[in-house]
Amino acid sequence: MAMARAQDSHKVQRRAIARGLMHALMILVCIACAVPLLLIVSASLTDERALVENGFQLIPSKFSFYAYQFLLADSGRILRAYGISIFVTCVGASLSLLLMSLLGYALSRKDFPLRRLISFFVFFPLLFNAGLVPFYILMSRTLHLKDNLLALILPPLVLPFFTLLLRTYFSTLPRDLIEAAKLDGASEWRIFFQIVVPLSTPALATVGLFSLLFYWNDFYLSLLFINNPRYYNLQYLLYKIISDLQVLENSFMQSGTKPPLESVRMAMAVLAMGPVLFAFLFVQKYFVRGITVGSLKGD
């Protein structure tokens, strides 16, 4: 009896240690995830001279909000880039969600003629893609979209993967509901917007979020098609100022004083991350549900 109890307490103790170890390990991993971003934040809050002398540190050796003040005082460039990013992201993501869900819905309907053929048409680009050169020729020589915001909005509007994910989700909705609405004389458009859309929030939220994220983080299309600094979006401006210090210096020529380059760069990175963190806190739940639900399948 006593021995059994001793064994039991031994077991409890071991389990507690194991649990402690697991938490410790997870905390380490989480630190590894957070530290890189905290370093950027810290650098943006460090005095420029301290940054040059002591290097980058997790806790600023000398606090300074100067980089942010500097950006605020001479905010034309970054505000413009913000504006471009917000405009492209909002227009692109909402249009993208609309087009993809309409297409996905049509494909989810068993009574849609040519359903298989059109599904394949949507699916095929996942398998075979023309690649950069033909795409570049199309955009610059055929459509003349260089230095045009449409170059940032149009190409990612319909992504096959998400269209098919939406189709899969829509096809799990009860068919009777749509049939009943049709008997009541509802039009297809009304059925879609008033019945299908409200029932599909998890899938729409996931795809919408992916789309938002894609547009907000996109720098590739700007890299290819935007030369005019007036159309730089936030990511591309960030890319430019880290790959070419001259760009940053030129950006702030008007101010006359030499800008604190390192900390200003980092402050801009923080400002670019801000909205993503904000969005993340709200939609994470949908996101997790969405990526785990949306198994993608052909016919």
């Binding site: 995830c33 087009l99 309409l102 050169v133 020729i137 096959p160 890319y239 991350m273 993340f280």
Partner: protein, 335 residues
Amino acid sequence: MSGKTLVPPEATSQGVTPRPASAKPTQGTAFMQRLHRERARSGPLFLMALPGLLVLFTFSYLPLPDMILAFKDFKAAQGVWGSRWVGLTNFQFLFGTGTAWRIIRNTLFLNSLFIVATLVASLALATLLNEISDSFFARIYQSILFFPYFVSYVIVGYFVFIFLSSDNGVVNHVLQNVGRQPVNWFNQPSYWPIILTLVTLWHNLGYYTVIYLAGIIAINPEYYEAARIDGATKWQEIRYIMLPLIRPLIIINVLLAVGRIFFANFDLFINVTRQQGALLPTTDVIDTYVYRTLTTLGNFNMASAAGLFQAVAGFVLVVLANWIVRRVDADQALF
């Protein structure tokens, strides 16, 4: 065409029942009626699908014919179709100079590293998260782990620079503090496969952990209970119950990644290596090569040849991977 022609099914069947003397014309009208109804019904659906299909056609199908550029000597003035045919010359150049070998090797090697590292690490973390019974903490861990997935590679490039910058970077700072020589990281290609793997892990770990965790959570707890009654240890539970049960999920995810092994993560390579020439021997991949050749050298010929090779090799591999998935678990096959 409009909604007015939409007749409730009862009404039509009633209208047809009293058959007139001659059957033929009625059949014709019935057929016309059906066709009419069909069009009225699918017209709006077509209209819904149309804008998306047009976009897809423009950006995914319209460029396809221009792939023949790989067999031509492109002159901008003559356009794609007016340019001279040169047969396989572009490919001879590409594969003759060793460039092709380098970019293909780097692409395949680095992507394999990423796949293996991500798989092992995310499985381990998913197992760990599953064991943590305190759901409050588990949720917080999961959120922190997941957030990097949302961070753009431009910003990833920023912190890699903070870590590896030769004069004021964090890593060199630490090295000097422990009495080691600082390293000029952006000049040392041999370190970069590891650096890039770590960066990829940082960015994607949370995403795959969430996927595997969902698979693990879906396992019926009765299996574990049964094992526990039989005196199984935690390791045995993981080894003999959890892993075999999520094996299909693992295989599918790995095969999907393998199917895309010829395609590198362009954003990662451009932003993190900062296109340093010294790093090209280990970090030049097909996508960066095509981009550089096209935009900075303006060499459409080499870029098209490498692009065509990538598209075809990628296609073959995706089809192959899917064929294998189909054999493992037909439900999970892409097509």
